[in-house]
């Protein structure tokens, strides 16, 4: 793989995992808000 | 009741060891498990004699570290809130309780090392130079491992996750012990000074002992 290929791969992994982490927090936040709504 | 600190610790250690001698988990299970581990490894990496001779010492210390910490998790050492409260009511200093527990664990880890040592030497044809220094290295590693695993055991508490969690938390923090033990023996083999590694071991034991004593009272109060 060319050097640029590795660079793209690296950035894809970084931003991909960041997006996944953000999505997981967003999902857990939504779950928590819904649960709190049920408990009111 | 105010027995001096070391008397309290000694009594607790003695009670621990007596209790352990009844159930015999360490001698009957943990030590043989360590021996099985030593036996098992060449099944995976091959039985080539020069290879085993080269890595034998390292494998021994890795097994001591990984399996030795299970000694701290022995059932006879399991302490529920009831026992803790009882000792508290009796006026036992929590720091002395920690010291006693670490002492008994240390003795058992030492037994672990002493029994498995000859087994490792035999299985891996390990050649040791500077036998005399082992008198320092082996007990200091036992002390460090006992102190660290007892301390982490207290921090984790009695939750059901303890048997898996304690080894996971201990392992990375025990790296200096593993390095000091293996590098000392390696240094002896090469005829180099190992004083620095011994001092590191001693320093670590001291730091862990202090940490254990300082955290004993805060941990006493936690549910």
């Amino acid at each position: 793989m060319s050097d640029w290929g590795w660079v793209v791969f690296g950035y894809a992994v970084l931003y991909g995992t960041l997006a996944a982490y953000v999505a997981s927090i967003a999902y857990r936040l939504r779950q928590a808000r819904r649960r709190l709504g049920e408990l009111q | 009741m105010s027995l001096p600190f070391w008397s309290q610790a000694g009594e607790i250690a003695r009670a621990d060891l007596r209790s352990e001698s009844r159930t015999g988990e360490v001698m009957a299970v943990t030590i043989p498990f360590g021996a099985v581990a030593l036996l098992l490894i060449p099944f995976g990496i091959g039985t080539d004699a020069p290879l085993l001779r080269q890595i034998g010492v390292g494998i021994y210390w890795a097994v001591v570290l990984l399996f030795g910490m299970l000694v701290a998790l022995r059932r006879s050492a399991a302490e529920g809130p009831a026992q803790r409260d009882l000792l508290g009511l009796l006026g036992v200093d929590p720091a002395a309780r920690f010291a006693g527990r670490a002492l008994s664990t240390g003795v058992l880890v030492l037994a672990f090392e002493v029994v498995l040592g000859p087994i490792a030497i035999a299985l891996y044809d390990a050649r040791i130079t500077g036998w005399a220094w082992l008198i320092l290295v082996v007990p200091m590693v036992a002390a460090g491992l006992a102190l660290l695993s007892t301390l982490i055991g207290s921090i984790v508490g009695g939750s059901g996750a303890a048997p898996a969690l304690v080894p996971f938390l201990v392992a990375p923090l025990a790296i200096p012990m593993l390095l000091a033990a293996t590098q000392s023996l390696e240094g002896l083999r090469l005829g180099e000074s190992i004083l620095a590694w011994l001092l590191l071991l001693a320093a670590m034991d001291l730091v862990l002992a202090i940490a254990g004593v300082l955290t004993a009272r805060p941990l006493q109060e936690v549910r």
């Binding site: 793989m1 050097d3 640029w4 590795w6 660079v7 791969f9 690296g10 950035y11 992994v13 970084l14 931003y15 995992t17 960041l18 982490y21 953000v22 927090i25 967003a26 857990r28 936040l29 928590a32 808000r33 649960r35 709190l36 408990l39 | 660290l148 301390l151 982490i152 921090i155 984790v156 508490g157 939750s159 059901g160 996750a161 303890a162 969690l165 996971f168 938390l169 392992a171 990375p172 923090l173 790296i175 200096p176 390095l179 000091a180 590098q183 620095a196 590191l200 320093a203 670590m204 730091v207 862990l208 940490a211 955290t215 805060p218 941990l219 936690v222 549910r223």
Partner: protein, 242 residues
């Protein structure tokens, strides 16, 4: 526009800016285009160290003040720290494969980053194992303080060990030239990642507050009045007088 919203926008803008500068900068003299990976690899480990420090300081603060918000911050920072440490290791490996030909070397820095990752993970695993919030805060704070005492010893022993077994200098990367274009790409990443860290920690703390609130509601709603199971004895045909 809340403070949190501003930081989140800054984080996204920062990431965009950092990405553009990293891609637009000319190739580095010795490492060529691969150096672009270092623009994210090094800031990532710095943020991981920052996150770790925050966890340790707030752990100590919790033990001193016993306020739950310090514990919540310690946990949030630890979780974000695990992310950045993991990202550092992954990017480091992706940079290392074309540079050295191997995914991993036993160089002190890499080994210590891996150890840090597992200690963080252990902290989070410890928190998961404790249900009671106060006990959880207490025990994980004590573990945090133990870690700060023990980790320098680990660091020292590993560095020493690797110095004794010095690797061939071919495997060590040469120093990065820090001409203005590189310096700005680097700085852009550091700034962006800092905003990302703060944004993530704020959201994670919000999640923590909500989860604690749920705990409280659950606990109070399940509590029966003591003695509710005890009913007065009834004689057949009797009529309730009250």
């Amino acid at each position: 526009m809340t403070r949190r919203r501003i930081i989140e926008i800054a984080a996204i803008a920062g990431l965009g800016g950092a990405l553009i500068t990293a891609l637009v900068v000319p190739p580095e003299r010795t490492q060529g285009d691969l150096a672009r990976l270092l623009f994210v690899h090094v800031p990532s480990i710095w943020i991981a160290y920052l996150a770790f420090s925050v966890t340790l300081v707030t752990s100590a603060l919790y033990l001193w003040k016993r306020e739950m918000r310090w514990d919540r911050l310690a946990a949030a920072s630890a979780e974000v720290g695990v992310f950045f440490t993991g990202a550092t290791i992954l990017i480091g490996m992706i940079w290392g494969k074309p540079t050295w030909g191997v995914w991993w070397t036993w160089d002190a820095r890499l080994v210590l980053t891996a150890v840090l990752f597992f200690v963080y993970l252990g902290y989070l695993a410890l928190r998961r194992s404790i249900i009671d919030p106060v006990a959880r805060a207490h025990r994980s704070a004590l573990f945090g303080v133990l870690a700060i005492i023990q980790i320098p010893i680990v660091h020292f022993s590993v560095v020493w060990w690797r110095t004794l077994h010095q690797q061939a200098s071919i495997l060590r990367p040469g120093p990065l030239q820090m001409d203005p274009p590189f310096r700005s790409a680097f700085l852009a990443s550091v700034v962006a990642f800092t905003f990302v860290y703060v944004a993530l920690v704020m959201r994670r703390m919000q999640l923590g507050r909500l989860e604690d609130e749920i705990e409280v509601r659950l606990a109070s709603s399940h509590q029966e009045v003591a003695g509710a199971a005890v009913a007065p004895p009834r004689i057949e045909g009797a009529v309730d007088s009250v």
